[in-house]
């Protein structure tokens, strides 16, 4: 059962990855990416990482790919890409480098000094509810580690997400380069001075970018 699922979704993941690279249309690339992400979520489930699998589906397939599709549609870049190679010999060189890197990663994955998994290397990965030696289910185990050993990185992640949201708003707001119609709710004084006070009113900026784009 596990072997059937593994090979089925391994084929799906590899097909999705190749589809991302080989699709001429960015929209198709995004949809192939969803296939790979969901297949990886299945691998997480097969390795009894239920919480991470759920977060993978929600965050990646639910949020990140939708964000990609929004940007593709917003920018209108869903055109076919040219087939020409602007830098001579770049593609053959990239493929040769890729093959070299694949060999390197495979060698590293098979060596104990790189992975530290010398005793567990031949251990079969069992099914969905195998929780190992620790007590409790997967969410309890992850939460115990996350809120004890990794509490400080967890708090830093919260700060990072806030900074990322503010930075995205500041970067993506219309900065008055072109004479465009700004949304309602922006005072004329601030409209005349683009770039000033960009981090001070993130809520208003978010509303504006939603309204105009």
């Amino acid at each position: 059962m596990t072997a059937v699922l593994f090979f089925l979704f391994a084929a799906a993941a590899l097909a999705g990855a190749l589809g991302v690279v080989l699709s001429r249309n960015p929209v198709h690339s995004a949809l192939w990416l969803v296939l790979t992400l969901l297949s990886v979520a299945v691998f997480f489930l097969l390795q009894s990482a239920q919480l991470v699998a759920a977060v993978q589906v929600i965050v990646y397939a639910g949020a990140i790919v939708v964000l990609f599709l929004f940007v593709i549609m917003l920018l209108g870049v869903d055109r076919e890409e040219t087939l020409s190679d602007p830098i001579k010999l770049q593609r053959p060189a990239a493929i040769v480098l890729g093959v070299l890197m694949l060999g390197e990663v495979l060698v590293l994955a098979g060596h104990e000094w790189a992975t530290g998994a010398q005793t567990a290397h031949g251990v079969p990965i069992h099914g969905l509810m195998d929780t190992g030696t620790d007590p409790g289910n997967n969410i309890e185990r992850v939460a115990r580690v996350l809120f004890t050993d990794f509490l400080w990185p967890f708090q830093l992640t919260a700060a990072l997400l806030v900074v990322a949201v503010i930075g995205a708003i500041v970067l993506a707001r219309r900065s008055g380069e072109r004479p465009e119609d700004p949304g309602p709710g922006i005072p004329a004084a601030e409209r005349a001075r683009p770039g000033s006070g960009s981090g001070e009113r993130p809520e208003a900026d978010a509303e504006t970018s939603e309204g105009t784009s």
């Binding site: 990855a17 690279v21 699709s23 960015p26 690339s29 990886v40 390795q47 990072l160």
Partner: protein
């Protein structure tokens, strides 16, 4: 029913293949959005190795690290797509070759 045990090495080999496909795609493609998707592909391959090692070593810390990787990837996508939007506002080029302002 296939009488074949799936060990951690299978997952590691699959993750290496996914990572390589992502890296080659990053080098080959010219559309910045597709290049960004290839970066996501590589991040996912690394997440898969994290979970595999968490299983092989019977240590849940690998899954916690995947949690952090997901959060950082979400932040990276938000800021990166904002940068792409800002770039596309100024110039209509859809490829990475158009972004040669810093070329000497």
């Amino acid at each position: 029913m296939i009488a074949l045990e799936i060990t951690g090495s299978y997952y590691l080999i699959l993750a290496a293949l996914l990572f390589t496909i992502g890296a080659v795609g990053l080098l080959v493609r010219r559309n910045v959005l597709v290049m960004f998707m290839c970066v996501e592909l590589m991040l996912n391959a690394v997440n898969l190795t994290f979970v595999t090692f968490a299983k092989m070593l019977d240590d849940v810390t690998g899954q916690v690290l995947v949690f952090f990787t997901l959060a950082v990837a979400a932040a990276e996508v938000a800021v990166g797509l904002a940068i792409i939007v800002a770039i596309f506002r100024r110039r209509s080029g859809a490829t990475a070759d158009d972004l040669d302002v810093l070329k000497g």
